[in-house]
């Protein structure tokens, strides 16, 4: 490959042709400030519209400053990244951006976690000249079940657009209008609720300001906890324990399961349970459904469709309901672990402790924003009482813990309550891409072959590649497994199925990069994909540390079937643990 030699701030650097000035500077330890730019290199996601101009640098021989994020290097180039001219220009750019940005940092949901605020601090902005004459652009507030759009705070970095279109291929958001009226919005500037949005929350995860945030349900949770007439039950998703620590200054990848349980007990939840229990239950139902469909398929039943697709991820469910409604019979009918938990908590467990359904509040802690929408779906409630009352994100839980003046880092470990707190390692790995199908494989293998696995680690199913495939030998029967994370990758697999070219028996799909560990409700990664890798590592460590590694060996799951559900896919299980899907696509004006 051709190499190019250039000089940046007096340092010689040699980089391949086609490298940007920004990346070349990084090679010699110069971190040029960026705002709109975002690079998640492990996932092949790069946003470089060259729009904000914060990264401007001086290039000798050029009249104008150049945006380093989108300017390629050339031979003999002499770059200055911190001349007075650059510093002045950078400050002016920042002042102009801030002149059209609300000054409500004290109460903004993103305060303390905002890239724009950080940049203002870094550049030492103390005044915004000309503000008194300048009008500000305003835009109406848009609230959906999961996400709030406060476009007054949008700086047109277009990171959300990159995630929504390039990575997720959802196409809900696009830059519309021009000049002062420019915003990122759904088609015809309708509300998000009436767009193809899947509520995956990846737009929120990358938004540098408070323009895109989650619908905050912490106040509802506090209200439930303060009500003496309510029994408040909490469930925590697997990916939360691998990331919550980051909000308290701990290293990414620190496992905080026991500390999190202590914090939740401290907050006053009556029962601290684990979504992992329901993940084990999911494996029982989904695994049984897989084996049933597989055996009927192998027996030549033409009505049975393969591959079977996982259905734990609500962003993914929303995606196929909108974009591939003709294929809505292919995914497993098993509800997600969040919903299975809610259903069992408000029936089996409520009966056990003698509490009426209406007196119980089920709260879920999720790495996800689509879960907020999922728990509000009509089919997941009984007489208007939802199985899961409130779903809050990892970030919201961190706020709750901080409000209660608790320091997670110094807390001692506690155990989950029984019986819905018991789980296997197979349930923990639901939090990482490939984990659900690995968990299903552990159980399906043993149920199908009647043999015990020598090793439960199916490392061929792990990794960060967008689309992966593996073949697992079920004692002579070769099971072909596909895995995709990110809805753009999922789309590719779906197109294959649609065209009749797919050879997979089972496919796992997760909407977010890296699976739930990279969910839209997790602590913000600020464009650092190493954080996602550290969380993945934590998930697999947690699995290895468990004595129980297979869902069907969870004694409380066995007991649940004995006492209540009878067997997987029984009539009762169908009623409480399975669901059906709907076509969501609507034409404009039908909304």
């Amino acid at each position: 490959m051709d190499h190019i030699k250039l000089l940046i701030d007096g340092k010689t650097v040699e980089v391949p042709k086609g490298t940007t000035v920004y990346k070349a500077a990084k090679e010699v330890g110069i971190d040029i400030p960026v705002l709109c730019y975002m690079d998640l290199h492990d996932l092949n996601i790069e946003n470089k519209p060259g729009g904000c101009r914060i990264c401007s640098v001086e290039i000798e021989g050029r009249r104008n400053l150049a945006p380093s994020c989108s300017t390629n290097v050339s031979e003999g180039m002499v770059v200055k990244t911190n001349s007075m001219r650059v510093i002045n220009a950078r400050r002016t750019v920042m002042e102009l951006i801030l002149s059209d940005h609300p000054k409500e940092c004290l109460t903004c949901a993103k305060s303390g976690n905002c890239d724009l605020q950080d940049m203002a601090i870094k550049l030492g902005i103390r005044d915004i000249p000309g503000q008194e004459y300048a009008e500000m652009s305003t835009y109406r507030l848009d609230t959906s079940p999961s996400i709030i759009r406060e476009m007054d705070k949008c700086i047109m970095c277009r990171r959300c657009e990159t995630m929504c279109n390039d990575f997720q291929t959802v196409g809900a958001l696009n830059a519309v209008n021009r000049g002062f009226n420019a915003v990122v919005a759904p088609a015809f500037e309708m509300n998000l609720e009436h767009s193809p949005c899947t509520y995956c929350g990846q737009c929120v995860a990358v938004c540098p300001t408070g323009a895109l945030t989650e619908v905050d349900h912490t106040a509802n949770v506090i209200q439930a906890l303060s009500d003496p007439n309510k029994t408040v039950v909490v469930q925590t998703a697997p990916a939360v324990r691998a990331a919550l620590g980051e909000e308290f200054g701990m290293e990414p990848g620190t496992r905080v399961t026991g500390k999190m349980v202590s914090a939740l007990k401290n907050l006053g939840f009556d029962y601290v349970f684990d979504t992992d229990f329901a993940a084990d239950l999911t494996i029982m139902e989904e695994g049984t459904e897989l084996l049933d469909r597989l055996s009927r398929h192998l027996d030549g039943d033409k009505d049975v469709q393969l591959p079977i697709l996982t259905s734990c991820c609500p962003g993914w469910v929303n995606f196929f309901e909108y974009h591939f409604p003709e294929m809505k019979d292919i995914p497993s009918t098993a509800r997600s672990p969040q919903q299975m938990f809610g259903s069992i908590a408000k029936t089996y467990f409520a009966e056990k402790i003698g509490v009426k359904r209406e007196e119980m509040v089920v709260v879920s802690i999720m790495p996800c924003l689509a879960k907020k929408y999922e728990c509000q779906r009509d089919e997941f409630s009984v007489d208007g009482n939802p199985d899961v009352d409130f779903s809050i994100s990892t970030r919201e839980l961190a706020h709750l813990i901080k409000q209660a003046n608790l320091d997670l880092s110094t807390m001692t470990d506690s155990e989950f309550d029984s019986p819905l707190g018991e789980s296997s390692g197979a349930a923990v790995i639901f939090g990482a891409t490939g984990g659900v199908i690995e968990a299903a494989t552990r159980t399906a293998y043993e149920l199908q072959t009647g043999k015990t696995l020598e090793s439960v680690d199916f490392k061929q199913l792990r990794g960060l590649e967008g689309i992966r495939s593996a073949t697992v030998d079920f004692d002579g029967l070769e099971i072909k497994i596909g895995i995709a994370h990110g809805l753009g990758n999922a789309r590719k697999l779906l197109e294959e199925i649609k065209a009749g070219r797919s050879e997979f028996h089972a496919i796992e799909i997760m909407a977010c990069p890296g699976g739930c560990i990279g969910g839209g409700g997790q602590p913000l990664h600020h464009g650092n994909s190493d954080i996602l890798k550290a969380r993945t590592r934590a998930i697999y460590e947690e699995d290895e540390a468990k004595t129980l590694r297979k869902s069907h060996e969870n004694p409380y799951i066995i007991k649940l079937y004995e006492e209540f559900l009878d067997q997987p896919m029984s009539e009762k299980a169908h009623k409480l643990l399975h669901t059906h899907y709907f076509e969501r696509k609507r034409k404009v004006f039908e909304v």
């Binding site: 196409g171 696009n174 209008n177 088609a187 015809f188």
Partner: protein, 161 residues
């Protein structure tokens, strides 16, 4: 956006499909497809944008983004008698602004809008090459020169009757 619901006929949908095919449904040709379609329909209502998006396999949000970025594209149907006022340099300095204000007042619409009865729409353009007649007003194909605010009422009456 326009809030008038329209129902596209089968032949209209086919026509839009033809325009898309003419440019091989290539994403880079979206602007050309929009040009052709607006030429044929006079404007680009939401329903038309949806057909284009479906056919070219693009998000509707993207199509809408392009339509709203370029001032040439419009989502509002032109009136039966489109009124255009030249605000090019020559016309501007000779008082086009006052003429424009008078049209806005008489028709009770803003630039880019169409009157409630669908008869008149108002737009601005830049230089029709008749600077000697400045300020210039066009109604449909007909040109009016040296227009003063006082003439506006009369011009409108010509088409109202």
């Amino acid at each position: 956006m326009s809030t008038v619901k329209i129902e596209l006929r089968k032949d209209q949908i086919e026509k839009i499909h033809e325009f898309c095919d003419e440019f091989n449904n290539e994403h880079g040709e979206l602007i050309n497809v929009l040009h052709k379609t607006q030429q044929a329909f006079g404007y680009l209502p939401a329903e038309v944008q949806e057909v284009i998006a479906d056919k070219m396999r693009l998000p509707v949000a993207k199509v809408y983004g392009v339509v709203t970025f370029y001032s040439f594209f419009t989502m509002i149907p032109k009136g039966e008698f489109p009124v255009s006022i030249c605000t090019g340099t020559a016309c501007y300095v000779r008082g086009a602004e006052n003429v424009l204000s008078e049209f806005k007042k008489q028709l009770d619409i803003e630039v880019g809008e169409t009157s409630a009865d669908g008869r008149f729409s108002l737009s601005c353009l830049r230089c029709v090459g008749a600077c000697g007649l400045a300020p210039v007003v066009l109604v449909g194909e007909k040109t009016y020169g040296r227009v003063a605010p006082d003439d506006v009422k009369e011009i409108i009456e010509e088409y109202r009757s």
